[in-house]
């Protein structure tokens, strides 16, 4: 009884919304329950439940229209679910926050189509994405600090764009833009990274390097990767979630999933 009381107390005190503080003391960074999203009667997500642990690298696969992108839209606040809850850590209810607020508390997102600021230099792109106060006042008057500059330089090396740092981002190749966008996520220092088809348009060598990078990020960050490239998925994934018609069809290691009857049916059956 005592234990239950104190537990309850903790829950109520924990549920007070503290801006910008993510409580992951129970080991879960993202928790989605019974999410339903419909567009004009079409159920893009159907009672979907999913949870991601701290430091986990999760791959999400599924045929076209399975709801992979909608899933990310819901997490980042772009789409509001008709029903269900999305919690970031234990206390932050994503459905109550706007997109920029969700980004500020620590969820970064890479789009399917690489989206960078084409008219800014690579350096400026990273500067803009950098984790810092994003208010107008700060943007008008504060200059970049040397530790922030180091952080950017470090990232430039990670994404291999150091010698291109002064060229316009619009001039980069498709693969380089993908890397730049990943770099922009890194300097944002998110707790959870959502990556939509991060290796599309990359050469084999680049893909390999990306796999390396993601593996090194896991642990420090949590990652949710949506990808079609099965070789890539099997090279990084410890746990794979298969989506089908807006719900979770199967979850497990790559091996388990590949041998799952229903998954085979969905992918190969028709």
């Amino acid at each position: 009884m005592m234990a239950k009381d104190s537990n309850q107390l903790r829950r109520t005190s924990g549920s007070i919304y503290q801006r910008g503080i993510v409580d992951t003391s129970h080991g879960v960074v993202l928790y989605m329950e019974d999410i339903t999203v419909s567009f004009d009667g079409f159920r893009a997500l159907n009672n979907l439940s999913l949870s991601i642990d701290v430091g986990e690298l999760r791959c999400v696969i599924g045929p076209n229209g399975a709801g992979k992108t909608t899933l990310q839209d819901v997490i980042t606040g772009k789409t509001r679910p008709d029903s269900g809850t999305v919690f970031f850590g234990q206390t932050i209810d994503c459905s109550k926050l706007t997109e920029p607020e969700i980004a500020q508390v620590g969820i970064g997102r890479k789009f399917q189509k690489p989206t960078v600021f084409e008219n800014h230099s690579v350096l400026e792109n990273l500067e803009l994405a950098l984790k810092t106060d994003k208010s107008i006042w700060h943007s008008l008057f504060r200059k970049i600090t040397s530790s922030e500059r180091d952080r950017i330089e470090q990232t430039l090396e990670t994404i291999n764009l150091k010698n291109l740092c002064h060229s316009r981002a619009g001039l980069l190749s498709h693969g380089q833009k993908q890397w730049l966008e990943i770099g922009m996520l890194l300097v944002q220092e998110p707790k959870l990274l959502l990556l939509d088809e991060p290796v599309a348009g990359m050469t084999d060598q680049e893909t390999e390097k990306t796999a390396e990078l993601f593996n090194s990020l896991a642990g420090k960050h949590s990652l949710l990767v949506v990808e079609h490239d099965m070789d890539f998925v099997s090279s990084i994934a410890k746990k794979v979630t298969v989506l089908h018609q807006g719900s979770v069809l199967a979850e497990g290691t790559m091996n388990e999933v590949q041998n799952d009857e229903r998954v085979i049916e969905v992918y190969l059956g028709r």
Binding site: A103, T115, E118, H120, L128, K134, S139
Partner: protein, 373 residues
Amino acid sequence: MKIKQLSALYDSKSWLMLTAFVGVICVLFPICNMLVPADSFFHISDYTVALSGKILCYAIVALAIDLVWGYTGILSLGHGLFFALGGYAFGMYLMRQIGHDGSYHSSLPDFMVFLDWKAYPWYWEFTDHFWYAILLVLVVPALLAFIFGYFAFRSRIKGVYFSIITQAMTYAFMLLFFRNETGFGGNNGFTDFKRVLGVAIATPNMRLILFMMTGVTLIALLLLSKAIVSSKFGKVLTAIRDAESRVMFSGYNPLHYKLAIWTFSAMLCAIAGALYVPQVGIINPSEMSPSNSIEIAIWAAVGGRGTLIGPLVGAAFVNGIKSYFTEAFPEYWLYFLGLLFILSTLYLPTGVLGLIDRIKEKRLSKNKELESL
């Protein structure tokens, strides 16, 4: 430190050009107008001073539209409204300065006497104070822009839809100001100004002073705008123009940024309007007509968007031609304006300034080729 920051805004050549520009406005124009004899080639007529003063006001408006359209990608077709409101706000003060010298020798403006009003309506309160009028100029159009912008940007209205709403807004205000009961002189607006700060307004001296004030204001606002677009704030604006969703998911709230620059831009227009009215001696609701606002956008398009200087060049260029055209072939002006707009979008997407840049680049690459030979 401050000076160092300021000097970083432009390279030394641009600073030289700016200084030359200040020199022309503050030294050359006054001397050529006042001291050079009227039959000399170098004499600048009162008419030219008045026209140039007008064009400088338009240049401030062009600067304002470049901040929102060129840098942030928000095409406003209603900036004429903020310009006119600034003009009206200062016009109220100018009307009060007429005193008892109107046709009816009443303490009320002629149009109020005509309407048989016995006293000033509440919103004319305190407008006889110069600084209060300045405050109105700075606050009222900006407040309107803020409220309008808040609802439009919060609802994520973008692109052509936003432009159409701004057109509707300026049109609605034009209709409102056309009504006599609104208390702003109906379709005649305000005119017959006598003095400002107790000094007679329609003298060559006053015209010159207003001209110089407008020039200095333009340069100050140009520097301020340059500082804004060079800051990180300005980079966020351009980022919003190019990829708004990425800006949002980087943690910036585009609403705040758009609203800030939109309101600032409206404020610039209002300042321009307040400088314009004493120089042309009249303000009426036709300044709010939709076509006026479209013309403002054309200045920016012709001069070159997103360059700050380009739209100023565009405003001077288009208005220079306009003053010639409307005298020589008045009925063809609108056709010509339309043609100019189409041609500049088709062949000069980066405007006159972009053309100069392209020529420069071509020359540079040619030189390089020659060197390598």
